[in-house]
């Protein structure tokens, strides 16, 4: 049982891509699509209007893509990448959200993280918190013996 599970997931913990995790991956996937497409349009059609905001849009899109794929894979290595991506995502949405409130000059055009994701019902602010909670919830239960993963 345990062996089979380890073989499937490469992890002793619960899979990030199972149960409620499938919903999380679906939401991340939608934001990967939305942020990347939005950034693509912005960078191609009017980069000069707000270079900083649009580059950050593209970075946000990339982070969502990484989080989507790593959470969907659910292996031990991908968990680590997911954790890094989601931490960057949280820092990003809080930083860009705050900057967009304080200094509207720097963010004349909305990005996915502007005003903490107000254009997307604040889901961009809630999503990394849910992501971190889910990684914690599905964490491996006990340290694994030092060996190659299954």
């Amino acid at each position: 049982m345990r062996g089979v599970r380890a073989q499937q997931t490469g992890s002793a913990g619960r899979r990030t891509n199972s149960g409620a995790g499938r919903v999380l991956v679906a939401v991340y996937g939608i934001f990967a699509l939305a942020a990347t497409a939005r950034a693509g349009v912005q960078l191609i059609t009017r980069f000069e209007e707000a270079p900083l905001a649009y580059v950050l849009s593209a970075v946000a899109g990339l982070i969502y893509i990484v989080a989507t794929i790593t959470l969907a894979r659910g292996t031990r290595a991908s968990r680590r990448l997911a954790l890094i991506a989601i931490i960057i995502e949280l820092i990003g949405v809080v930083t860009v959200g705050t900057l967009s409130v304080i200094d509207q000059e720097a963010f004349p055009r909305a990005t996915v993280w502007s005003v903490y994701g107000i254009g997307y019902g604040f889901v961009p602010l809630v999503l990394p918190i849910l992501g971190l909670a889910w990684l914690w919830h599905t964490r491996p239960h006990a340290p694994q013996p030092v060996e190659g993963r299954g």
Binding site: R22, A26, L33, R38, G40, V41, T45
Partner: protein
């Protein structure tokens, strides 16, 4: 885009969202009827995107052309992807996955209605 068709998509997607939530609360995977319904929603959505594409090819220019095209493609691919993703592991969360996709289609269609104004 045809307004009546867009509002039909919005209404159908709204029912899809509720249906997904209901099956999740009932702790059941989506049944055959629900999956067929998602297929029907997809069909109407695709017709809408094709009609809009025909109008754009015919010379109509919405204010934000690139964004509009992105949305027209986006609404057409979301349901099939969610459908496949929901069917890999069938349980109560499959319904929520379908609901999330339907909600995205609903929101994007409402946004398209706003975007669909001729460029001045």
């Amino acid at each position: 885009m045809i307004d009546a068709l867009a509002y039909t998509v919005v209404a159908l997607a709204g029912v899809g969202v509720l249906w997904g939530i209901v099956t999740a609360i009932a702790n059941k995977p989506p049944g055959k009827a629900q999956l067929l319904y998602a297929g029907g929603l997809e069909a109407v959505t695709v017709v809408q995107s094709i009609l809009a594409a025909v109008k754009i090819i015919g010379g109509f220019r919405p204010v934000e052309l690139a964004t509009t095209i992105g949305y027209l493609i986006g609404i057409a691919i979301l349901i099939p992807i969610a459908w496949l993703w929901a069917n890999v592991e069938r349980n109560r969360f499959s319904g929520i996955v379908l609901a999330v996709a339907a909600l995205a289609v609903l929101a994007m269609t409402l946004r398209l209605l706003v975007l669909w104004t001729p460029a001045g």
